[in-house]
Subunit: 384 residues, 2 copies
């Protein structure tokens, strides 16, 4: 596990070594998975995106027995100095209060994780208020909230690298503890401001097109938020090729940590479910550090935030769900666990046409295909 107080060189080395371990997903496993799909008792392609999901799990996990066992949402929480600009509908103290709510089991993510049998891990990467000791709270604090990005860089490059390292460590820990898929989520009042800034730098689009209403701000607050993002991007001018520079300029600690969690998951050959708008800003930064990481990602839920589409274009992973949700916390990822679990269960457990003795489709002349009823040694959990 990364020590956030450790040296810059340590964090940078961890990022480099993690990126070095990420390889493109093996297309031959995906091809073998596609071939198996054709033999399962359903019309070809009729499970739609569930087939894509299962096939890519096979590629990532290098197996024809893909699994979503022990799914975990890693929820990174941190505060944002830019909250002082009045860009959120909620006071900054909501961040710490919501962390306490997570620990008490009273938030949306608690309910959705429970309903979908997903473990929740909450990581404090830099909440401003002091939180009480709790066995359910992982402390990996990089600072006492970020600085106000409207006036100065949100954090140092060293802090950005250390926060990425926290995410890498959290993903590695999940893998060590038996998780075979993770989801990323976040809590941090004002963090849609950071995410919109990240989107502006990465997509070269104007702030006006990317800034949304977040938790539900009114028109004057929206104008203020647009102005803050525009000025911050203009002032700091981070290079779109420099993920650490972007994080340093615009924050936040939790976005950096989620970026690291994506890298860490890919290095462990774990699929990662990318929650919504803010999570996708982190995923897009991970793709800047290592383009191949995108092959390990699954978009979980399409956010109504206007900047989400632009960021999704970078990771190239259209979300599985579109339910009009906009609260982060990993809620979309928790729901997406049900989809990916269904996808891999169907892949593993369905019978083949042969072993279920179901006739295959008629050929062009109305004849059955040649291999109808031919016995095979395809594995099935249900066959004779």
């Amino acid at each position: 596990m990364v020590d956030p107080s450790g040296g810059v060189a340590d964090a940078a080395a961890l990022i480099d070594s993690t990126v070095a371990r990420i390889t493109p997903v093996d297309g031959t496993w995906i091809e073998r998975a596609r071939d198996r799909q054709r033999h399962l008792t359903k019309p070809e392609g009729s499970l739609g995106r569930l087939e894509e999901v299962a096939n890519r799990f096979c590629g990532i996990q290098e197996t024809l027995e893909p699994t979503a066992a022990n799914p975990r949402i890693i929820l990174f929480a941190a505060d944002h100095g830019v909250a002082a600009e009045g860009v959120s509908a909620y006071p900054q103290s909501v961040t710490s209060r919501m962390v306490l709510n997570f620990l008490d089991g009273g938030a949306a993510i608690n309910a959705l994780a429970g309903a979908n049998r997903v473990e929740l891990r909450v990581v404090d990467v830099g909440v401003r208020a002091m939180l009480p000791e709790s066995p359910d709270l992982v402390r990996r604090r990089i600072g006492n909230g970020t600085e106000n990005l409207a006036r100065e860089p949100a954090m140092s490059r060293a802090q950005a690298a250390a926060a990425i390292g926290v995410g890498i460590g959290a993903a590695a820990e999940a893998a060590d503890e038996g998780c075979r898929v993770i989801g990323i989520g976040e809590m941090g009042i004002a963090n849609t401001t950071s995410a919109a800034g990240v989107a502006a730098v990465l997509t070269h689009r104007p702030a006006r097109a990317l800034v949304g209403r977040g938790t539900g701000i009114d028109d004057p607050t929206l104008e203020r938020k647009v102005a803050v993002v525009r000025r911050a991007v203009g002032r700091h001018r981070p290079s779109p090729d420099d993920a650490i520079g972007i994080l340093s300029a615009l924050g936040g600690f939790e976005i950096a940590a989620m970026c690291g969690a994506c890298l860490g998951a890919a290095a462990e050959r774990m699929p990662v479910l990318v929650d919504g708008f803010i999570s996708t800003s982190a995923a897009a930064l991970a793709a800047v550090l290592c383009p191949a990481v995108r092959e390990y990602m699954f978009g979980a839920h399409r956010s109504p935030e206007p900047g989400h589409g632009a960021l999704l274009g970078i990771i190239d992973q259209p979300p599985l769900l579109d339910l009009g949700m906009r609260l982060g916390e990993g809620t979309g990822a928790a729901l997406a666990v049900a989809i990916v679990r269904s996808a891999v269960t169907a892949f593993r457990e369905m019978a083949t046409f042969d072993n279920a003795r179901v006739p295959e489709r008629l050929g062009p002349g109305g004849h059955r295909s040649a291999n109808d009823h031919r016995p095979t040694r395809d594995r099935t959990t249900h066959g004779p």
Copy 2:
């Protein structure tokens, strides 16, 4: 339970008495649910469609403790005489073989029901082949497959009423056995032909705009299927106001049974998850018999079949999911169980702003709203 060999009068009386028990969903419960949503620890409306789902469950179940307990997919299987016209990519024998596959646990619906903790009940409403005795197969056979709708009515009006009665009975049985939500699904080679015919009658659109590739037919088969639907609708000319007449003309037994299951669920104040294209044709027919039944329905999954959108317009329930699936069996409904379970769990288990001591949103002047931190007696499963 309906005896399908019973008299016409019995089945008609059951339908009438069931429809008479269906009342519009109580708007005051929905309003109370909306009010409670505003106090839960999330930005207002931020759970999107999950809030709509939970609120409507409250209205249907007349409670502020909505539940999706003991969810059951009722899968109705039957054969279609129109398969003789060569309108499917699969031979008719696939229907019975797939029923055996359901009983063996090897089909997509078995995997998806298992992954989402949903019970599966398979009902034979008229599969042509003789199926072996099985404790897992409910026999409610209306006939030995329907007649060929291209040449004659698919069934008699008495059979249509009896098949609706089977569905009513299956829903009542589910309610008796503790199910608080059901999903409907189907298996029947060539049944997209019937469903497209139903859509043509109900929406007054041409067959060409409603007929799709079903399990994956080629161009010549598609042309044949369009011609069959066009001719059948033109020959039988059922009235769009006469659901039993439409079923009699176009089939099938499983569509009639699903229509009955929708009515039966509403009569028991149970939400019903409407799977895909064929299920929606049944749901639309139920709405012809009783418009209020629509308030008990939830669209589960958006089918790529071209006729689905038109039928969804009738039930006015946009699907929760859009994953490119097209295999029926109740697979979309099984996935939707995860969504509705999540929705009601969040509603029941989330803390309120007050009892979690989370500050509410800032007012227009940046002030907290008046009731911030005011103690209440709101129920929570997590609060002090």
